[in-house]
């Protein structure tokens, strides 16, 4: 039995409605408890800001395409190298660090849980291998279903239950966490070098539309009783005028679940553009947020862009090819048979560039215009909008109008004619930030019951203590203080152990992989479906028996078993 007592913690724990109360937190064997004995190890938080460990509900840090981003970028790798020291392995990389680099930097910022944004089922083993080497965060994997042949066939045949059964089988097989749709239909079209132009544009050969795929997957998601909702990267990412597509997509979403949203729309910044070309592109954040404000069934994350160098990577193959034609930089693409695609290119977001400046504004606008912070999660779609190490700067921008203005002064001068940002006076509160980085992602992912995202009794003792006193600091006027504090915790505690102390990781660590296993009746089990098996072995290049991810890959894991209505 190990016990820990954190004294004098100024706690913000939105899920338990605690906001700035100075209190003690007791921990026993990795869980938060009512009280501990006198022998407990004591940490004095000194009245500093203490929150549940941060949760990133959309980040690209593990798996085939992330690793390809590293593989193709030695120039990025040399930008952030550290030597082996104590418990810390050597690290390399800035926008796509090595797994250890990612894990240590997240931990230094107080993050203890992360969702990998996109995992191709066929290559799931790779993602899980990298999870093993991301030791200081608990991990989950969004599983890609945007171009899945048997699912599109089932949808085409009007058999949503079969589509749900295939999703369920796949999630169990690859130890995935949630349904991810990346440019649904578009990735299959990209198999022919094409894309879909709107949510009503049918996928070549399969003759289903993105709208049909989205709706079917939302329905399937609820049939399977999955903890998270469908996690959607809308069609038409990054295209001027795409806000129409986004709004139409939002209109498809029923209010299908009373515990959480029915659709999680990711990196919405990239989907909120007006105009008809790069010349007249403008922000449509107001319309997007109006829709969000009227639809509690939708939760978004920002996909904030920050200026500087980064690497874009997404399953959205055609979008990356468009970016390549724009920048003429190196371009990688990796289509995955029967399932999905992906693309990678390095980019530089420049404040001298009008389009980049507009993108920067839109992300902030989404957070400021969404009334309910539970509906808008802080993200950069790491590393697409910026590497996650920029989160502290984003927090400062959201909390301080003055700081925003200062930065706004430095961006392209025409930006103000194309975005509403300058007119927005809202300054987010400490609580808002706690919601956007802890409570909301936990709730949206459906992992509150697992003890994530809060500090109530029984919760996992994942705790971040930041070196800042919120009663003495006015964030509106102290952006630098805020950035410094959120860049490095005094203590990051994971499962009741101090894993990171002022930037230095103290333990080797071991992550937990969280995955779902929907229980499906025999009638709908793909293991006993001759048609499914026949087509599998005929069209995949891996035998069906070699496809499922074995137990060896998820050494410490937490399986969420659900009862499917199938």
């Amino acid at each position: 039995m190990t016990e820990l007592l954190i004294r004098n913690a100024c706690v913000i724990d939105p899920l338990n409605d605690i906001c700035g109360e100075v209190m003690d937190i007791a921990v026993r064997d990795g869980k938060i408890v009512e009280s501990v004995g006198s022998g407990a190890e004591v940490i004095d938080a000194g009245g500093n800001l203490t929150m549940p460990g941060g949760i990133d509900s959309h980040t690209h840090i593990c798996g085939t395409k992330v690793n390809f981003g590293r593989y193709m970028s030695p120039e990025d790798m040399r930008a952030g190298r550290t030597a082996r020291q104590g418990h810390m392995h050597s690290t390399s990389g800035y926008s796509v660090p090595t797994t250890y680099g990612t894990s240590y930097r997240y931990s230094a910022m107080g993050y203890t849980t992360a969702l990998e944004g996109a995992m191709a089922p066929l290559e799931a083993r790779h993602t899980h291998e990298e999870f093993t080497h991301t030791p200081l965060q608990d991990m989950m994997a969004n599983t890609l279903f945007d171009g899945n042949w048997p699912i599109m066939q089932a949808i085409h045949d009007g058999d949503i239950r079969r589509a749900a059964a295939i999703v369920g089988w796949t999630l169990s097989a690859v130890k995935g966490f949630a349904i991810k749709l990346t440019n649904p239909g578009g990735t299959e079209a990209w198999g022919w070098g094409k894309d879909v132009a709107s949510i009503r544009d049918p996928v070549p050969h399969f003759e289903v539309t993105p709208a049909e795929i989205i709706r079917a997957m939302i329905e399937a998601n609820e049939m399977l009783n999955l903890p998270h909702s469908v996690h959607l990267h809308c069609n038409c990412l990054g295209k001027p005028g795409n806000h129409q597509c986004t709004l139409e997509t939002f209109d498809l979403v029923p209010n299908a679940n009373n515990k959480r949203q029915s659709l999680y729309a990711t990196h919405v910044q990239f989907h909120s553009y007006g105009g008809s070309s790069w010349r007249d592109i403008c922000s449509r954040s107001e319309e997007i947020c109006r829709a969000i404000n009227s639809k509690p069934q939708i939760v978004i994350d920002m996909g904030q862009v920050m200026f500087g160098k980064t690497t874009t990577m997404t399953a959205d193959g055609p979008m990356e090819f468009n970016l390549y034609r724009l920048y003429h930089n190196k371009w990688s693409n990796h289509d995955v048979e029967l399932e999905t695609g992906s693309g990678i290119i390095p980019v530089y977001y420049s404040r001298k560039n009008l389009v980049n400046s507009i993108m920067w504004s839109i992300g902030l606008e989404l957070a400021l215009l969404t009334d309910n912070p539970w509906q808008c999660i802080l993200s950069t779609d790491n590393p697409n909008g910026a590497p996650f190490v920029k989160y502290p700067e984003i927090i400062a921008l959201l909390m301080s109008k003055r700081y925003r203005n200062e930065v706004f002064e430095t961006v392209h001068p025409n930006t103000e004619h194309n975005v509403p940002l300058a007119a927005l006076d809202r300054e987010l509160t400490w609580k808002d930030i706690a919601i956007m980085t802890r409570g909301a992602p936990a709730k949206a992912l459906g992992i509150v019951d697992l003890g994530k995202g809060h500090l109530g009794e029984g919760a996992d003792a994942d705790i971040a203590i930041y070196p800042i006193n919120i009663n003495e600091t006015d964030p509106a006027t102290s952006a630098e203080e805020v950035i410094r504090a959120f860049s490095q915790t005094d203590y990051t505690i994971k499962r009741g152990r101090v894993v990171c102390r002022q930037g230095t990781c103290m333990v080797d660590g071991k992550n937990t992989t969280i995955w779902v296993d929907p229980h499906i009746s025999e009638n709908y089990s793909m293991d006993h479906d001759p048609e499914f098996a026949k087509n599998f072995d005929r069209y995949y290049t891996v035998r069906m028996s070699n496809y499922p991810v074995q137990e060896e890959y998820i050494r410490r894991n937490l399986c969420i078993e659900t009862e499917a209505q199938l």
Binding site: M72, S73, P74, E75, D76, R78, N329, K330
Partner: protein
Amino acid sequence: MKVTLEVKPRQKPHLPIEAEGILPRTFFEGADSLTVFRGNQEIPIGEIFAVTIEGDAGSVDDVEITILGDSSRIKRIGEYMDGGRIHITGDIGMHCGNFMSAGEIVIDGNADAWLGREMRGGTIRCHGNAGDYCAAGYRGEKRGMRGGTIEVFSDAGDFTAETLAGGTVIIHGNAGDLSGVDMKEGNLTIMGDTSRVCANMLGGTAYVNGTVYDMIPTFRKIGQEKVNGEPYTRFSGDIANRGKGTLFIRNYKYLD
């Protein structure tokens, strides 16, 4: 300030020494605790060199470092050099003058590969031969050398001035295969022969006074032109890469 570094004999003479600390600024600011790496051992500079320092310096430009003895396995001399002078009396190892932005390096002997990699400014003169990747870039980086001058008085190896993005490179002897490959900006002059010059070039200008063997077939021939009174054939390309570079070549042969 005159700094003399005389290379001492080593037990394993082939193991490289990495000595990026050896540059005028270090000695200007005081090099008492300067270390170098011998393989994975970090050791004081005195274990590798007999160090003599004479006089003072008012600025980094007053510092002249002279390296005596066999320095052919000593790497990264003058990395990030920003002023002053380094005189190498023998051969020098890889990566001499990486990222150099000002000052002068003179090499009496041969230089190993990556001489002046990603150089920004200043001058490097090599009186012997230069190895591969003279005046080139780093793996995966789009732009290589961006400024300054590198002059090699004998031959240079393969991939000379690869991804050149600025500055001037002059090779008085022959240059190896694929010199100027993926060049973007800047000037490359080869007084002798080379092969497949400026393949895939995007921009910049190159002169070859000798013969180009296996000339890349996707340059557009513009015509005959005189440069300093001498007849050259002028090309534009590389068309395969939408390039707008200019080549002036005395003689050339295709691999047909």
